[in-house]
C-alpha cells in the first residue's frame, strides 16, 4: 500500500464508533485509507460477523477472533499502519481504567503513533 493507512478498533460500543468516525474524518482530509478492525471475543466466536457494531459500516472491515490488543497490533503491523485509533470508555468506575485498558497496552506496544479518542470528543473541524 502506498497511501497513508489508519487502523481503527471497533469494539461493538459507541466508543468504538466514535473512534471510527474520528478516523474517517481525518482520513478524508489527508487522503488515507481506513481499516476498521473488530476483535471477536471467546463468547462472540461463531456469531454473525455483521453484528460487530450497531451502526452500518462501510469500507474495509477486518473481523478476527482474538483479544483486541493482539488483533489490533497484528493488523497494524500487517497493513503497515501509519496511525492506530481506539476509543476510550470514560467513567472512573470503569474496570478498563481500574484493571489495565486496551488503550494502555497499545500505548506500550503500538508499532506506530496511537490516538485515543475520549468519550464525547469533537470530530476534526472543517479546515
Amino acid at each position: 500500500m502506498t497511501g497513508l493507512c489508519i487502523v481503527v478498533g471497533l469494539d461493538g460500543s459507541v466508543h468504538g464508533e466514535d473512534a471510527a468516525a474520528w478516523a474517517r474524518a481525518v482520513a478524508s482530509r489527508v487522503g488515507a485509507a481506513v481499516v476498521q478492525v473488530h476483535a471477536r471475543g471467546m463468547i462472540e466466536h461463531g456469531t454473525d460477523r455483521r453484528a460487530v457494531t450497531a451502526a452500518p459500516i462501510d469500507g474495509d472491515v477486518v473481523v478476527e477472533d482474538g483479544d483486541p490488543v493482539s488483533v489490533l497490533l497484528r493488523v497494524a503491523e500487517e497493513r503497515g499502519a501509519d496511525l492506530l485509533v481506539v476509543g476510550r470508555r470514560g467513567s472512573s468506575t470503569d474496570p478498563d481504567l481500574l484493571l489495565g485498558s486496551t488503550s494502555h497496552q497499545l500505548a506500550e506496544r503500538a508499532p506506530c503513533p496511537l490516538v485515543i479518542i475520549p468519550p464525547g470528543a469533537q470530530l476534526p473541524g472543517p479546515d
Binding site: H45, T93, P95
Partner: protein, 367 residues
Amino acid sequence: MTEVPRAGDLRTSRGPTREAEADPVAATRLVVAGCNPDADHHDTGRHHPEQAARLRAATAGLVDAGLGDLEPLPPRLATRPELARVHSDAYLEALERFCAAGGGELDPDTVVSSGSWDTALAAAGAGLAAVDALRSGAGDAAFVAARPPGHHAVRTRAMGFCLLNNVAVSAAALAAAGERVLIVDWDVHHGNGTQDIFWDDPNVAYFSTHQSPLYPGTGRLGETGGPHAPGATVNVPLPAGASGDALRRALGEVAAPLVEWFRPTWVLVSAGFDAHRDDPLAELQLTAGDFADLARLVSALAPERGRLVLFLEGGYDLDALRRSVAATLSALVDGDHRPEEPSSGGPGAGVVDAVRDLHRRLNEERT
C-alpha cells in the same frame, strides 16, 4: 442434558469401577483438589458459558471414572505472596476491590461477582494444595477441578473468563523452590497469559496445542520464547477440524523432544476440554477417547510418579466435559473408561511437521 450429581452425592452415586477394585495397590494414586461446587461463588450470570455447572459436570466425570470415593484435599486460599509471583500488586488490589464493590464486566467475555475474588483465591490455592500433596508423597498424580479457569490471565489483567492464572501460580511456586516445570496446555484456546508470564523464564517451559485462528489470537508457530529461554515456548496452532491425531503427534514428536533437552522435574497440564467436537466455542474434533490418550502421553512426560498435576481450564459443553474428564482421569489411574472412541484424520499434520522441524533447528542452535 446429563443429570449431574452434586458434590454431596459423590460418595453414594456410584462405586469404583471393577478394574479399580481389582488391583488397587498397583494403580496410580490420584489426588483431587477443588471439586467443591458448593463453595463456588463466582457468579457469571445465567447465560455465560463459563458457569458453576461446569464444576458439577467435571465432578460427575470423576464419579464416572470410578473415583467418586476420593476425598478432595482440604481447601486453601492462595496467599498474596504466592499470587505476586505472577500478577502485579496493582492488578490484584484492583481485582479484589472491583469484586468487593459487587463486580461487573471486565471485558465482553469476563464477568465477576462479589464472590469471585474468594473463589479465584480458592482455585489458585487448590493447585498449590495439589502440588504440596504430591510433594509430601500423598499421590502419583493430581487433578484440580476448580474455576474460574486461569490460562488467559496475564500479569496485569484478567481476560477470556480468567482472573488468576492458576497453573502459573503453581508453576511459579515450584520454580521458586528450584524445580524445572513444563506446562502442557491442551485447551483449545492459546494460553496467552501463561506464555507471557514465563516467556523469558529458563525454568518454566510452555507447550500449547490450540485452534488457530481463534481467541486470543496469540500462539503462532514463531512464538518460541525470550532470549533467556529460546525454544522453551512451543506453539502448535492447529486449523479448525483437526482431530486427536494432531495432538497425539504433537505430544509424541514435539513435546517429547522438548522434555529431552529441557528436563522438567514437574509437568503441569492446562487441561481444557473445549477441543472436544461438541464444544460450542471452537471447532476441533476431539472426543473423550482422545483425552484419555493425551492423559497417558503427558503422564509419560513426567520424570517420575508424583510430579504431574492437571488443572481444569475450559470445556463448555457440559456432557462433553463430563465424558472427557472421566476418560482423562480413568486413563491417569490406568483404567479403561472410554465413553467415546478416539478421533483421527483431519487437517493439521503439516503444522505438526513444521513445529517439529522448527524446534529441531532451534535445539541444534542451542547445543
